[in-house]
Amino acid sequence: MSGNPMNTFKNLRMYNRITEMNRMLNLSLKQLFATSFVSSMLLLICANPAIAQQSASAGERANQNDYYQITTLPAPDDVVLEVGGLALLPNGKLAAATRRGEIWVISNPEMINGRVPTYTKFAEGMYENLGLEYKDGSLYTSQRGELTKLTDTNGDDITDLYERVYAWPVSGHYHEYSYGPAFLPNGDMVVTGNVAFGNPKWWEAQSHAPWRGWMMIITPDGEMRPFATGMRSPSGVMVNDEGDIFYSENQGDWIGSGFITHVEEGDFTGNPAGLKWADHPMSPVDIDTSMIVDSEQPMYETAKKVPAMKLPAVWVPHTLMGTSTTGMIQDTAGVISPFKDHYYVADQGHARVNRATMEKVDGEYQGAIFPFIYGLDSGALRMALDKSRGQTMYVGLTDRGWSSTGEKNYGLQRVDWTGKIPFEMKTITATPDGFNIEFTHPVDKEIAADPSLYNVTSFTYMYRYEYGSPIINREDAPVKGLQISDDGKTVRLVVDNLRKYYIHEVKIGELESASGTQLLHDVGYYTLNNIPSGVSLSQSDWTATAPSGSPSVESSIETPDSPGAYPSVLDEQGDEAAAPATKRVVVMPDSWEDGADQTIELGTVPGLKYSKDKIEVKAGSRVRFIFNNSDDMLHNMVIVKPETADPVGRQAMNLGLQGEDMEYIPETDDVLYHTNVVLPGRSETIYFTVPDEPGTYQYVCTFPGHYISMRGTLVVTG
């Protein structure tokens, strides 16, 4: 083990400084808003849209740092923690498997008395390890092609015995990543496998070898049983406290958005690539594959006809709650005690961790997902919880190949709960006539009594061959009234237009707890596969009208004042109308009789990059700009004023549900020209006249989470 102590020390100090700056920033914003007048606020908004945007998301809200401290574990330069698996060991050390095929054992990860952790390479030479579990003295990890058991037989903290538990077939395609294991109560292990890609679309999910796109159950003796299929990129696999199996899925073909699905033997969860092996003698999946057809209809329409199809228990709405659902872990020990038994769900693209709660309705899991931890250093993949030495969640990070928000490409961070309980929606559960929202603290009953404080909107996604899906069938579910429990901890909403199968966004305005604390997060997404039967609340029991003097309610979704301002994405004409036409001209203007002065072509490179870092154009010239999206993700191309890529990117990220309809183009003068969101493999051509003023302009992808890395410089010469 070698390492540079100076480096680790520097990292540590740097981190402390950043944390300190975050605190200061939040503090000063709070002070600012506490004392500001409306006029000065307006002034501020006009002067600096970036700050205005921040104020909406952070300034008046509670601050994450008050509840959760994020610490980066310093590591020597030669310890490249591209974490694919994390496991807490009984001796308090932490084991991290990496995408470089190594396993590091980390001593003192809690950094007692500020001492830095130390790292021992326990194993090496494996292939893209994307899972790690400890059991009975051994570590178990998935490589691309096998489940491996590693044991240190001579006590020197280095493995000396590699045992192959089971090798599953792979064809040799890079995308055949494998995940797990997760242990079942009987000691069997659950593993999932990615599909490969193929033709005609390079991102088309294909299963080139048996059980790619499947979940497998493997006994410790190496007997494998194919268990379920429909998996595309099932990067999270988990067994909960009841012994039920869940996996997390990533957006792609046939997968409109990320989700979490409860998997039972014989299930088909969505992507049809793995159905190639449904007729295999070992397959438990019995399905009429002719029923799986490309359509623009929601997934549940297919599920109605296909009994083996399992709908997600919790959708993780794309861009709203992340872009790439990864690891899942259940907090059975109550490491963060108010959330005991909740599920923490990581996201790579947004470098964050969400929180999910589930209940069983009509015998099936369904539930809600909430924001939880923001602002990690890089794409979050794996978590480990430690209650015995603190109230700690370790989060392993890597964004190599996909990129993410956050300034680093990999690392290991610790999230320590301060013990202070944030004011949060603790759970959302379904009722026959709406939702029960349980809070972590009693609400201020006077504020909470206003039904217009609660905004419920439902939507879903298409089930189709094309990569991803827009939000479809969005409708309001007006809150008719509510009932607050005596202890003030539960608000029962009575909601109109509840729709079975739909994702219901529940968004809350400026609610305060009884002690005056603001909500740390104001939104949750509940997947309502089943509406429970039972007794609806009688009208006499709920409050229908707002008490006078209550605060007005802010809605992030379509406002009544501007109906149709953001037309449905299904409306073909709508997207043209969504933004001022001058910023996106897709037909060469008639006035350009001699054509464009210059044609520029810009492509994409995997890993959230454009094909060019820099483009030079002449001031005032007429440009035909072709943007080719050859990536497997959605992107746009937005030309912005000098040094505004960051604020514009942030504003786009904060657009919420309406972001998609707006093509993630915030309404700001900083945006000069833009394309719409371009699907993988598609391109869009726009025409514009270069600004007369020379300077260093920027182009940036404002698809949520992309702006940090996906950008370039547009040099306008005189």
Partner: protein
């Protein structure tokens, strides 16, 4: 077009192009250059009156383990220096050379010493350097010193020791550039080794030879001199001597005119076919093929017309690479046409017979939309004319070298296993591992059937493509000098001793790898089961990192019958006088333990020769053998 894809393919290209020593000669059969002249070795007419120690043989046997041992076998095709006779002398070609590309196979006797003197003056050392860790100037491939005041001066060691064993054929490729002189006869440029590749590894690159080396025919440097092989220090054998002498001046494009078109293109349209005068935007004369005269952005087509003076009638080769559509014509005859971009790294070549005199050359280049700078490259080679560019450097703003900087993994104090996908000639083997040892001898194995697929020496592994982006790269072995075996399984059940060896795991074979670990002597120990029988398989370097040993032991007997191990397969396998087996004209040797040898036999089956041994089903039965190369 998908902009990300070509780059990926480019990386893969470099991975799959590595060749085994047995294939080096095949490489020259490709038409990326004009054919070499092969020296006639049915007689010694190419040489000046050779001394007695030089003779022709049909083959040669040099015992790997016996000093200076050589035995010439009847026939011709191999030039042998037996080093016998009272005064063994060097041998000189009857011709002289300036710039020279040269390649040949050679075999060293144990502890022997020879050398190849370019122009009779600059010696590249031929030496038995098998197993040497840090090569010196006096080792195989070294540039020898010269003498000043009785002391050795200068000398350049090879970058790596790529030497193979005495008694196996080795292969060297030399690109020599002669010193240059002005009209007064003064030297204005040193002699140079553009590249020397020994057994697939670059041992010198762009090395200036500032002085003739020791024992030169003259310390006066000169434009021409004979090729000379040292004969006075020990046995050496040489065959397949191939060379190109470059004595003619380069081709030159003259009277260049161009026509420049701006145009759009609909999908599926052949760009070259729709060039129309209505799109003509500019025309004029050009000094060179540079694209400097026109706007290089957007969609455009350019047609260059020029003339070229050919001094010697013969076969000429042209190589055109563009990042768009193209067409190439000589005297109005179309030799190359591409309707679409097939990648600038993917050149088209045409061979054409040209007579002495003036010819017209027309190059049409269509460029679609692309982000990068355009590429137009035309190379030419001819009789006595080295391959050279006819374009200006600015028209080829690309680097043909590797895209990724290598990230080497080299085992330092303990062996290393690296799992990954391994490319083999038959297919990708996705459950493979490369295993590297500090002794710089490494192997690749398929963990799904225990098949040894590759053996190589020197650097271990480059993980630069595995550890970037999404991890799309396969195991990138530093395997230029690898022995590549068949991807077929090592063990198989045969109904009879004549049954054909299967090319993949038989359906009735269940191979289960249980575990692996390293033993006390750093040997990799695999434990696996095959249809109920348990085996322990030891793999490790042997003889101080010169050889590689494998020992397979049955630890628990099961119902194993008619199971065989294929130790080697090749075009030819024969037993040598010293009891070792040679494979593929002495590309490598196999040394079987006594008990293994007793049971083994050579057979011809399925078009190849195979060295087989039955796998006994008695416990603790052992099969043991070494690869020697």
């Amino acid at each position: 077009m998908n902009s990300s894809m070509p780059k990926t393919q480019f990386c893969i290209l470099f991975v799959v192009l590595f060749l085994s020593p047995g294939l080096f000669s095949a490489l020259q059969a490709q038409t990326n250059e004009l054919p070499f002249t092969e020296m006639e070795l049915t007689n010694l007419d190419s040489f000046q009156e050779p001394s007695e120690n030089w003779q022709l043989a049909g083959d040669v046997f040099m015992d790997t383990y016996q000093d200076l041992h050589v035995e010439a076998l009847d026939g011709s095709g191999v030039l042998v220096n037996t080093a016998e006779g009272d005064e063994p002398q060097d041998i000189y070609t009857s011709w002289e050379h300036g710039d020279l590309d040269l390649s040949f196979h050679f075999m060293m006797a144990k502890e022997s010493n020879s050398g190849i003197y370019l122009q009779g003056r600059y010696e590249i050392q031929l030496f038995d350097s098998w197993g040497v860790n840090t090569p010196k100037f006096s080792d195989l491939g070294g540039i020898y010193q010269w003498w000043e005041d009785g002391r050795g001066v200068g000398g350049t060691a090879p970058n790596v020791n790529a030497a193979l064993a005495p008694g196996v054929w080795q292969y060297i490729e030399i690109k020599f550039r002669a010193p240059d002189f002005n009209e007064q006869g003064q030297k204005i440029a040193n002699a140079r080794l553009e590249e020397v590749i020994l057994n697939g590894k670059v041992i010198h690159a762009d090395l200036e030879l500032i002085h003739p080396t020791g024992g030169a025919i003259s310390n006066e440097e000169a434009p021409q001199g004979p090729l000379r092989i040292q004969g006075d220090h020990g046995p050496v054998a040489i065959k397949n001597i191939r060379y190109k002498r470059y004595d003619n001046p380069q081709l030159d494009l003259t009277d260049i005119t161009y026509r420049y078109y701006e145009m759009g293109l609909d999908e599926g349209e052949n760009p070259v076919s729709i060039i129309a005068s209505s799109n003509l935007k500019a025309e004029g004369t050009a000094v060179e093929l540079s694209l400097d005269d026109v706007q290089r952005t957007g969609e455009f087509a350019i047609v260059y017309e020029s003339t070229v003076d050919v001094a010697e009638t013969g076969t000429y080769l042209f190589e055109l690479r563009t990042d768009g559509g193209n067409r190439f014509e000589i005297d109005g005859n179309q030799l190359i046409e591409n309707g679409a971009d097939n990648g600038w790294w993917n050149p088209d070549r045409a061979e054409v017979d040209l007579s002495e005199g003036t010819h017209t050359v027309t190059i049409t280049y269509f460029r679609g939309e692309d982000g990068d700078a355009p590429v137009l490259s035309l190379m030419a080679e001819g009789p006595g004319i080295q391959k050279h560019a006819l374009h200006a450097p600015s028209a080829f703003p690309r680097n043909l070298q590797s895209v990724n900087l290598p990230k080497r993994i080299d085992p330092e104090d303990k062996p290393v296993v690296m799992h990954g996908f391994l490319d083999m000639p038959d297919r990708v083997h996705p459950h493979s591992a490369a295993v590297g040892f500090p002794d710089d001898i490494h192997f690749g194995i398929d963990l799904n059937n225990g098949t040894l697929m590759k053996l190589w020496k020197g650097g271990f592994l480059d993980v630069s493509t595995m550890w970037v982006g999404r991890g799309g790269g396969n195991l990138s072995l530093n395997e230029e000098a690898a022995l590549t075996f068949s991807g077929a399984p090592s063990m198989a059940f045969l109904d009879s001793r004549d049954a054909v060896w299967p090319d993949s795991l038989q359906e009735n074979v269940a191979f289960d790898l249980n575990s692996y670990r390293f033993g006390d002597e750093n040997q990799l120990i695999l434990n696996y089961q095959l249809n109920g029988s348990s085996f322990e398989d030891h793999l490790s370097p042997d003889n101080d990192g010169r050889e590689f040993m494998r020992t397979i032991r049955l630890t628990q007997s099961g119902p194993v019958n008619n199971l065989y191990l294929r130790i080697a397969a090749g075009d030819n396998i024969t037993e040598l006088l010293n009891g070792l087996f040679q494979v593929n004209d002495k590309t490598y040797l196999v040394n079987l333990s006594e008990s293994t040898k007793r049971e083994s036999w050579i057979r011809r089956s399925g078009g190849v020769q195979e060295l087989l041994v039955p796998v006994s089903n008695s416990e603790n039965a052992e099969i043991s053998y070494s690869y020697v190369w």
